[in-house]
């Protein structure tokens, strides 16, 4: 191989450093994504909920009757 046509070691070093930077930045970006999901959930708008209570009063006065018995047998 003709060494005169080869690129310099400095160029290779720069590319190596660039490779490391890209790798590190990419890894950091991916690892930071779950945190983004978590924050998204925290900052999401409040989910609306509704509780309804209906107490139905009778339209006419309601009555309840119970009957008991009082008994005695007088022998004489």
């Amino acid at each position: 191989m003709d060494k005169d046509n080869d690129i310099s070691k400095r160029t290779v070093l720069v590319l190596l450093v660039l490779t490391l930077i890209v790798s590190v930045v990419g890894t950091w970006t991916i690892l930071s994504q779950p945190t983004t999901i978590y924050k998204t959930m925290e900052l999401g708008g409040p989910a609306p909920g509704r509780v309804s209570l209906s107490i139905n009063a009778p339209t006419v006065p309601q009555m309840s009757n119970e009957a008991g018995k009082v008994s005695i047998n007088i022998m004489k």
């Binding site: 690129i7 998204t40 008991g68």
Partner: protein
């Protein structure tokens, strides 16, 4: 073996950079899709709970029979002109001779509805209970037929949970207010009613009378 050239190394490094960037891109796109699924569900979630409660007035007589049994006045203890008093919540008096087991018990009334109730008491025979006997003739003594509310240990219709008429009152043939604001709370929703018979000289045979309790929702 010849050493690889710097150009070859540089080419491999460029390939490594491209692979790293492409991997990062695809990984980010995948995570982004997951993010969209989660965040898309949050703001529109809606929950509805509906509860319908129907107001119900209902009372139950847990003990619906006050039975004084069979017996007669003890003439050696009580004078003809006096009455022998029998009370449903009391022990057998000496003026009464029972031919069987003497074990009358009070009426026991419970509010098993879900609203406060006013309870009245009524009887068709008014004060003269002995008009229901086989022989109704009164020879001597003053017959009487009375009721009185009696608070249980739970306190139902007591001082803290309503107003109970605990005074002795005659049956009049009309509804009389017995308990005001009887609670529907299971722990304080019941009370007793004591029945008292003043047995004169004369009446005999089987005597029966119905006592009617009526509840209405208190305001």
């Amino acid at each position: 073996m010849d050493e690889i050239s710097n150009k070859t190394l540089a080419t491999l490094l460029v390939v490594a950079i491209v692979i790293s960037l492409a991997g990062t891109f695809f990984a980010m796109r995948g995570v982004s899709q997951v993010t969209n699924v989660i965040t898309g569900a949050l703001p529109t979630a809606t929950g509805t709970t509906k509860v319908y409660i129907n107001q119900t007035v209902s009372i139950t007589l847990r003990n619906n029979n006050v039975d004084f049994g069979a017996g007669y006045r003890n003439s050696s203890v009580v004078a003809d002109a006096a009455e022998c008093n029998l009370t449903s919540s009391a022990a057998q008096p000496s003026c009464w001779v029972n031919t069987g087991t003497y074990n009358p018990s009070d009426f026991w009334l419970e509010n098993d509805g879900n609203v406060y109730a006013n309870v009245t008491i009524n009887s068709t025979v008014a004060a003269n209970y002995f008009n229901t006997c086989g022989t109704t003739t009164i020879i001597a003594g003053d017959p009487d037929y009375t009721w009185a509310g009696k608070e249980l240990a739970s306190g139902g219709c007591g001082a803290a949970y309503g107003t109970l008429d605990t005074s002795e009152g005659q049956f009049t043939g009309a509804h009389q207010l017995l308990c005001t604001n009887l609670s529907a709370d299971d722990s304080v929703d019941d009370f007793n009613v004591t029945i008292k018979l003043y047995v004169p000289t004369g009446p005999s045979g089987q005597c029966d009378n119905n006592v009617v309790f009526t509840a209405a929702r208190s305001s």
